[in-house]
Each structure stands twice: as C-alpha cells, then as structure tokens.
Amino acid sequence: MRRARTDLVRTGVVGVFLAGLCYGLAAGLPAYWVFLAMSAVISGVLLQSLGVVAGHAGMVSLCQMAFAAIGAWTTAQLHVWGVPGGLYVWAPLAGLAAVPLGLLIGLPALRLRGVHLAIVTLGFAATVDVVLAATSFPGTDHGITVTRPAGLTSDRQYFLFCCAVFAIVGIALKLVRGTRLGASWRALRESERATAAAGTSVPGAKLSAFAVSAFVAGLSGALLAGQLAMVVSKNFDPGQSLVMYAVAIMVGAHHPEGALIGGALGVAVAEMLRRFGVPQQWSNVIFAVGAVQALTQGAGMSDAIRGLLHGVARGRRAHPATAGTPVPVAAGAPAEAPADAAAPAGPETTGGALEVTGLTVRYGRVTAVDAVGLTVPAGTVVGLVGPNGAGKSSLVDAVSGFLPGSAGTITVSGGRVDGLPVHRRARAGLRRTFQQDRVPTGLTVREYLRFAARRPVSDADIAEALAGLVEVGPEGPISALDVGTRRLLEVAGALLARPAVAVLDEPAAGLGHAESARLGEWLASVPARYGSAVLLIEHDLDLVRRACTRVTVLDFGRVIAEGPPAEVFTRAHVLRAYLGEEMAA
C-alpha cells in the first residue's frame, strides 16, 4: 500500500515536472526553436502510433503517413465546412476518420504477415498518395488555410497543445498497456496461437491495434495541419512512412520517451546537417544505419535507456528488493485454497468437464486421429499418453479448435464447442498450453497472469497461483525466465482462468526429476484448488501415475486402453505399443 502511494507521489512529481518543463520550453525558447520542438512533438505522436502496431503488436506497417494524411485531409475539410469547435474538435474527428482505413488495412493483416504485410501496407501508402495527389487538399486551391482556434494562435500556445496531445496519447497508451487489450497486442507479437488459446480473439487484437494506431496517426496529421496551416500530399510521401518505420525501430517507439526521442532526432539531425552545410540526404543514411544497429541489438534506444535506468535502480536498492518481495514457495496448497475452490465459476454439471466423441483428424490421406472418444469427468485429472506420432498433438489441436476441418463432437461442461473458433472455446472453459515456448516475453509475470486469467485477479490470487508451482516474483519480466519456468507459468495462467478443463501439453518437458515430482503433486491438487478438470498429455509416466486418476492410451490415432494408471500400464498391448522395442529387447 505504501509502495503504491510512493509510486503515486513519484509519478505525480514527474508529471508536474514534465508539465513545467513543457511550459518552460514554450515560454523560454526562441520562436524558431519552439517551432522545431513542435515538429518534434508532432512526429513523436506519429511514432507513438507506430509504437502500437509495430512495437507492441509486432506487425509491419509502412502506411502510417497515409493515416496521417487522412487526418490532415479531414481537418482541412472540417475547416472548409466551418465545423465549430476548432482543432479541439477537429483533431479527434480526424483521428476517427483514419480509423476505418486502419481497419481496412487490418483486414489483410489477418492473413498476411512479415514481408507480405510490408508490401501491402507500402502499396496502400502509394495508393493513398496517388489519390491524394490527384485530389488536392480541401481549401488549398482557394487559399483557405487551416486556422487555429482562440487560445492556440501563437506558436508557443500551439506547442503546448501538441505536448498535451502527446501526453494524452502516451498516458492513454500506457493505460491500455495495463489492460487485457494491451497485453493481447504484446501476446500477439509472440504467438497468435497462444493468444487465441488464452481466450483472446486474434482478429480483434489485430484490428484494434491497427484502429488505435490509425487514430493516433490521424491525430498527428491534424496537428500537422494546424501547425503548417497548409499541407500538401507531399507532406505524407510514402517514402516518409518508410523512414518513420526505420526511426521507430531505431528509437523503440513503443515507449513514449522513445517516440519523443525519435521526433527530436528527426528535427535535430536535419537542423545539424543544415548548420554544417551537409546535404539533407545524410539524415536518411543516419536513420538507416541507426535502425540496422538497433535491430542488431534487438532493442531500440528507449529499451536501452530503460534497461540502464533499471540496472542503476536495482543496484541502488538491491538488498531491500530481495528482502521485500519474498518468493512464495509453499509445498502444499495454502489453507484458504479449498474455500476458494468451493465457489468456482466452472463446472456444476454431473457429466464430464470435457467430452470428445468420434473425433477424427485427417491430413490428406493420412488419418492422424481416428474416431477417438474421450471423457474428462469434472474434478479429475486424466492422463493422455502414447508413443510419438500417436496423434496426441493432433488431438489437442483439434479439441482446442486449431484444426477446424476435424470431425466429431466436443462438449465442455455439457455445451457443444466444436465449430467454435479457438478463443470462443477458451472462453467456454477449455484452456490449453503448448509444447513450444509461447509465453509472451514482452510482459511481466503479473501482466501475463492477468492476461491469461481473463477475470479480475488480485495479487493474492497471483501469489496463490504461483505457490508451489513456480518460484518467480510477479514483477519480473518473462524474458528473464528460462523455458521450463515459462512453461509452468503458462500452466499457472491457464488454471488461474478457472476453466472447466485445462489441457496441458507436456508441461514437464525440460524439468528435473524433483521438479517433475512436485508438479505431479501440484496437478493432483488442481481440481480441489481451482475446480478445474485436467487433461494431461505427458511422456513421463511417473508424473502421470502421480497426478492422474485415469489414463487414456493412444496409438496410431486410436484409443487402445483406458482406465486407472496402475492397471492400464500393466496391460501387455499397452506396454508393447508404448515401450515398443525396449520390451522386445
């Protein structure tokens, strides 16, 4: 509680200091420098828009200038129409006008990635440029220029207005960053499959990232129109979009300070070159080299600065930090856990948490899963084992919705989910984890668990979810964890959502023997703690014995045995199928 208050005081002080700084700059700088600072802040707003789509969500967008152009065009048009409210009203409207285009470009992004997306967005930028060049900006032919409203007429006042817009955008994006939407953008960057499996709609996340990005870019276009009074299509040249993308990478525009540095660099480099009489083209060379340099580091300037500051801060309070945040390590379930489990949102049905009948998966002429039936009763942990290539992974993919072509019925707590997309199945109470490491590294442990839970969770919930499973502090970044730990964290996240059933795909891979044993005990306690049933896919038969009440054996896509582990693992044909040559030898 006290920490929250000191944080509050600190951010308050920083906020007041920054506001004072802006005012000081506006009042104290020579008029020319105010203009330069204004340009820097407006580019900063545009870079923040790139920070959303490219920085957070990891999608290439080479058409930000086109969005800005729509914003500026709208501003000019609103001015010509004489819409009341001045720039205060026009700017948000300009942002909104860019949103449909953002959504339009977001649609191909649902299927196109990487270089495909780069080409499409570049093509889009070129197209908007062609259309804008053919139809000049409203008012320019009649010498009507965008006028600033009362209170913003001087450059100094307008500079403050730009600072305010930049701050609002920065703070709003920071707030969004803390929400599930913001986390979903960063999760998207890591893995679309994991994002969907956590119950988040991938199309929704992508489209929202493009929409928000277009809105912010549109705002910057409106600011530019207000700054220059007259804009032409050349202000929004597609080449500029390319350069801006390079700058965004170079500075790390997903942090507001990075965006500001980028804006300032753009202006400062041009100014320096001018002062020293060097051709302006060199600035693009500098940005190109800077971007390549940032890419070799894997992080832009803002990340580097944050890392540096963080390192200093940690060095300064190294001891209190380790003492102040003890890692919760409890062997068993905490005392209050069963009380919590008494009111799970999940299953109340008497039937199975997960029921699969006649599930069939075909890849071409190969039948990977052949009419498999499987039941995970509520409140139980069921194992699914089988040799490599038995069809376990295909079965998990089909159940969780990644193979829409599969046949068969799947019910979760009595409700049919086959036919639903992945994220809808997840929301219906069917969670899964992955064999591959797909935990988004851009999040902290707490952010990830909140994102995965899809429900309000307190710090106590988080501590409890981690207890006995994985020894990490909630503040730490996931990127600092090893793969085995990340995987356990994924398990904790899936269960924190209190699903009807959690399908865990080899959670023990990469764990040592002792850790594996502890995981087995923890899994056995899951139904009591969370009210969730578990379908455990695992190679480690000891773990299965320890955790599961029943086990299903799969071979060549068919169920060959089913029953309590102790009994199933003694059957001859199971041993033959599972251990194969080892038995024969």
Partner: protein
C-alpha cells in the same frame, strides 16, 4: 492506477499553464532582425538543394548578384547577407527552413527561392509574418495565388497555356493534345490553364490525359497520342521524364507530331542526354533563351554567371532576375531597411521592365501574382537548342 493519477496531474498542470501567459508572438515584431541602419541586410531563400529534384542554380545566381552589389559598396554602405537553405523537397524541411530564416535569422525579404514545396507550405506563414518573397522559380500554384509571393518566372500553368496557344494559333494545329503529370495540388491550376486557352481560342484538347506518373513508362501514352491522331502534344514532364518521353517517341518511330514541353526540360543536360533523339522537340523558355550566346539582353547575366562559375541555366536567370529586382527595390527605400519597409516598397512597386522577360515584373497589392506572361519558343535540333520565335509570345488571356 498510478498512471491515471499521473495523467490527471499532468493534464491539470498543462491546463493551468497554458491558460496563463504565452501571449501571442507577433512574428513581425519578434526578431525583426537587421532593423535600423547598422549591420548587414539579411535576405533568405528556400531551395531544393538535395533530394529527388534539385534547383541549385537559382540561389547561386542570386548570390552572385548580391556579391557584386557588396563588392560595389552594398546598399547605402550596408552589405547584403544572403542565407540559402535546403528543403530537400520535403514540406516539413521547407517549413523549418522558412521559420529559421524569418523568426531566427530575421531576414527582411526572400529572393531567388527555387523549390517545389516552399510556396505551398510557407505562403500562409509569409503572409502572417508580413514578409515578401521574390520567388526565383515558382512551381506550385500557391506561388501565383499568394499576396506575399510574386515569382519572376511564368510557371508551368502559364507555360501550358502559352504552349497550347502556340500550337493552335501559330503552328495552326487542329488536334492539340495534352498529357500532364499531376504532382501535388496542381490539378486545378492546369485545368484553369486549359480552360483559359479554350476560352481564348474556342478550342478544346483532343486528349486531356492527366494520369502520367513520374515513374511510369511513357510508351503507352506516346502510343495513345498517335492513336488519337494528335498533331501537337503538350507534356509537362521534368528533365528525366521528358528524356524518357522523347526516347519512347523515337523507339516507336512516331513522326508527324509536334512535341511541346514546358520550361523544365529546357536545359543543356537534356539536349546532351537526348542528342538527335530529341530532334523537333519544342520547349517554352520563360526568360530570354539562355542558350543564345549572342543575345545582348543576356550580356550582363552571362558575364556575371561565367565570372562566378554559376551554370548557365534558366533557373539561374530566375535567381539573377529576382535578386536584381530586390536590389533595385532596396535602393529605392528611404529610411531604415526593415521587413516592414521592404514589404511596403514591394506593395507600392511600379512594374519593372527587363530585357530578360517579355512582360514587366509586378508585385503590388494583388492577392496573387503572375506577372511574367510571355515566353520564347525554342526547339531542339541535333542536340542544340535553337530559338524559333525571336519575338516574345505573349499570352493574351488570363488564368484563373
């Protein structure tokens, strides 16, 4: 949430601060620069010096003029300091350059600017700052429709009108076509030029194609001109575009069409690059054609440019002319030379005759200026430019 509190704090602080103080800067009052009678007289210009299309000659020529004035004792003993800035064809850089000149350096006027974006981006700012610009090469339509700017050149729109007029009235071609590359907000200005010609002559272009792009292959357009039976074709391409156009004409072996270009390709580089491939191509010189070595009208310009090592180009003529007009006007000012007195002098300017142009240079109080309304037609032959019309072709109509 701490961030939201920070947001509130920051917004409140900004709202508080922006409310008080920060009264309006009067751009005219602030940094009025070399006011009074001491120090240098600062003159500025905004130019495309780097980037895809550059016009370095205009400011170089203007500098040559100012250097000569300084060598001869300056204006009433005060030297002229000529500040040349680069906008790299980028509107943002042009805006930055203009602010630097006007608010930071405190120039009293602009002269000899040659840029694709300067007028469009900075015209409102010049008006607001009460400064005048004697544009060396104006391209954008705003150059010709701002109270603060009066270019010495004719500009692509009047060029277009003169070319159409020359094709239909002097060459007596019935089927006149126009192929235009529309860059930026030039569509309406070209439209007005064509409409003005139509109004004057009662004729309409057989083809009015405005879809040429700088990087498109000209072959399909050249073929279209042939297919539609054009007898004279107007094209507004820049140097590389015009070269590509004429090469396509040559490749397709098209004959019997007169090709009329604006001023842009009237350069030695084009003549050299095309060689005999450009035979018959017309261009419209906005000033006394610079390729005429023996023209007495050009004697002073030619000797000055040669002395100062400035390439002999049409842009150089524009810069020379702009600087000369400015110097004449500065000399006429009684009392201190400030931004206000210079602006006043230009607003009250009597038309200035010059042997380099067909019509006198004007400024005055008009809302827009297009005083150079004449051209001389030149033609390429064997890699050499040749003057076809020894007399000025004055355009009798008005644009817009």
């Amino acid at each position: 949430m701490t961030a939201s509190k920070a947001a509130v704090a920051l917004l409140a602080a900004i709202a508080l601060t922006s409310g008080c103080g920060l009264s309006e800067d009067s751009p005219a009052a602030s940094a009025s620069g070399s006011s009074g009678d001491s120090g240098t007289i600062k003159i500025g210009s905004v130019n495309a010096l780097s980037g895809p299309v550059t016009f370095p000659d205009s400011s170089s020529a203007a500098k040559a003029v100012f250097d000569r004035v300084n060598a001869q004792g300056g204006i009433n003993g005060r030297e002229i300091e000529y500040i040349v800035t680069d906008d790299k064809g980028d509107p943002a850089a042009a805006a930055q350059a203009a602010r630097d000149l006007v608010t930071n350096q405190g120039v009293v006027a602009l002269a000899g600017s040659a840029s694709l974006v300067d007028c469009a981006v900075n015209a409102p700012f010049y008006t607001q700052s009460g400064i005048v610009s004697v544009q060396g090469t104006g391209v954008d339509p705003t150059c010709f429709s701002s109270a603060a700017i009066s270019p010495v050149n004719a500009g692509p729109y009047l060029n277009t009108a003169i070319n159409l007029y020359y094709a239909s009235e002097v060459l007596k071609r019935d089927k006149v076509c126009s192929f235009l590359a529309i860059l930026g907000n030039t569509n309406d200005a070209y439209g007005q030029a064509i409409a003005s010609w139509t109004k004057l002559t009662g004729k309409t272009p057989v083809v009015d194609d405005r879809t040429v792009k700088p990087d498109s292959d000209p072959t399909p357009f050249v073929l279209r001109a042939k297919k539609e039976g054009c007898q004279a074709v107007l094209y507004n391409g820049t140097e590389p575009m015009a070269i590509a156009w004429m090469k396509a004409v040559k490749q397709q072996n098209i004959t019997g069409i007169d090709w009329l270009m604006t001023t842009a390709p009237y350069t030695d580089a084009v003549a050299k690059a095309l060689g005999t491939d450009g035979d018959g191509m017309y261009a419209n010189a906005e000033f006394e054609p610079f390729t005429q070595a023996d023209s007495s009208a050009l004697a002073d310009w030619r000797s000055l440019m040669t002395e100062k090592n400035v390439p002999l180009t049409s842009f150089g003529q524009g810069g020379y002319l702009a600087a000369t007009h400015l110097v004449d006007t500065l000399r006429s000012i009684q009392g201190p030379i400030t931004r206000e007195s210079v602006a006043k002098a230009f607003k009250e300017l009597k038309p200035i005759e010059s042997p380099l142009t067909g019509t006198p240079y004007e400024f005055g109080d008009a809302a827009g200026h297009m005083s150079n309304k004449a051209g001389k037609i030149v033609q390429l032959e064997g890699g050499q430019w040749r003057v076809v019309t020894p007399d000025w072709v004055r355009y009798p109509g008005t644009l817009g």
